[in-house]
Symmetry: C2
Subunit: 315 residues, 2 copies
């Protein structure tokens, strides 16, 4: 086990208002200059290695928007998460926090455009397809999730403890740092959720030689067909096995329909080039009730089992 | 291995400007309400358990100001950190990120007074006693550390990747969450660094029945003698073994002299009550050159060995 920071650079704040504060309990007030040099744009990555790995290819676990690597650890209702499952299955794992998230830290305001964007519970309730927007309530007992919901709804507030702020302007820095992370491995499997799926597909397009397989858990974005077709790396990318996994409750969710169409358009281009594209459309396979957070739902172990079986056949 | 969030509460932002952003790569711009409910004030804690623990008492590792649990993991120059060492020695470990830091997240501006305070490299250079203030330079090759410095100076920029922002107004919430963390264990050993040391001593004073031993690595604060003497818990606190560990380069550092005097005043009160107070004053013992970051210095394993030997004799 170990951890490291990768990507990023030194940057300087030329002028900034200093701050007076007492950082130590019962200690003196001190003058904190805010101008100066900072490291910005790095990713935090924690690595765990089983004694006898079953594969030379590590599994990189990339979280979704407004979240951190904690998303892959213990589920909000206290069950072992996918980080545990991949480790127990014998894979080296690397759980990261993207630029600006969690332990990766975020830059001072002078070094990033715009303000942090926060995720209120109601937004997560709707966007993660736990329930319809109007069915969220402050009182947990009054919330009405989708019928058959597999996310452990009684632990929804525990999930909300995981949310961290984000800055739209930092997306290019995140992509750079993810590239540095992937390049630090000979050949990695990327398992990515939601926004992380978009980062994974962009990173694979830019550095296909470092990626051995892609598991996309409800990715919210992908390189558009025009960009894909124009890339010198298209045929190499088509050689990387892709698995897309989709949950339930897309009907009537116009946002998720758009996100999924964008991803399907990517998959279509790759399929036309002979790409290795597989999908697990869970409701179509008879598994109903999964939210956007497949790795936390009550059947997270069963979905993991399907993913692990697919992965074992690829690498 | 597992992780959880503890402490905190639901809080509501009544009004806030919404934000327009495209969170998914190549995806549509969306309207993000910023008003709504949030979870705030929780701590993130990651637990790792050896197969055969040598003690029923877990070791809680609490980081210092402007840092996260990453401080206990791999050192900035890539050696195993104290989290590894405690685990390898057979202790259950719990590495946390305090309220507002790292994976614990920070609240929206409407729910916290003041702005985030950042740590420029020059401030860390001086406060962590790597070198005199004026000897910091943007160019790593031009920096002049204290003579005999044991911190791996070539990795100073890697250290700076660990720094995260903080809010002075959140200290009471952090204390509450640390209390909840300690209360979740029957009897814990707290190993705390710097600002975390002040939190540890306050928490032990409030909840002595849950604390079995205290290892304070250069604590920057402590309950003042008046508060200590007035507490109903003083005699119970005096029964908890304390170990204070101090590095080098205090001479001429007025800030650290004040911090240390505050801590010595605490120790004096406890000693008068028959308290179990031990100290490792490393330079006085012949080990010179340690910075404020003893667990990252080039002799971090040797210092760990002294701490582990002490701890084994106490619990």
């Amino acid at each position: 086990m170990g951890s490291f920071f990768i990507g990023g650079r030194s940057a300087t704040v030329a002028t900034a208002e200093p701050v007076e504060m007492a950082p130590a309990l019962h200690g003196p007030v001190r003058h904190f200059a805010q101008a100066g040099d900072y490291e910005i744009g790095q990713i935090y990555a924690q690595v765990m290695l089983p004694a006898e790995p079953i594969s030379p290819h590590p599994v990189l676990l990339w979280h979704g928007g407004g979240m951190t690597g904690a998303a892959w650890e213990t589920t909000p209702d206290g069950r072992p998460g996918w980080a545990h499952r991949f480790l127990a299955a014998g894979y080296d794992i690397c759980v990261s926090d993207a630029v600006e998230r969690g332990r990766a830290s975020f830059p001072p305001p002078a070094l990033v455009e715009g303000k942090p964007v926060f995720r209120p519970k109601a937004e997560a309730w709707e966007t993660f397809r736990i329930g319809p927007a109007q069915s969220y309530a402050t009182d947990p007992g009054s919330r009405r999730p989708h019928a058959g919901q597999r996310f452990p709804v009684a632990s929804f507030d525990a999930l909300c403890c995981q949310f961290v702020a984000r800055w739209p302007a930092l997306q290019p820095l995140a992509l750079e740092a993810y590239a540095a992370l992937v390049e630090s491995f000979d050949g990695a499997v990327i398992v990515a959720h939601s926004q992380g799926g978009g980062y994974a597909l962009e990173t694979a397009l830019a550095h296909p030689d470092h990626v051995r397989a892609l598991v996309l858990i409800e990715p919210s974005g992908a390189p558009p067909p025009g960009k894909l077709s124009a890339s010198h790396n298209l045929s190499e990318l088509a050689g990387i096995p892709h698995l897309f996994v989709w949950g339930d409750f897309f009907a009537g969710d116009t946002l998720w329909q758009v996100y999924r169409q964008n991803v399907e358009a990517y998959a279509d281009v790759l399929r036309d080039r002979g790409g290795r594209i597989d999908s697990l459309d869970l409701p179509a396979m008879g598994t109903k009730g999964n939210s956007h957070l497949l790795m936390m739902d009550d059947n997270s172990d069963a979905v993991f089992g399907m993913v692990a079986e697919w992965l074992k056949a690829q690498i």
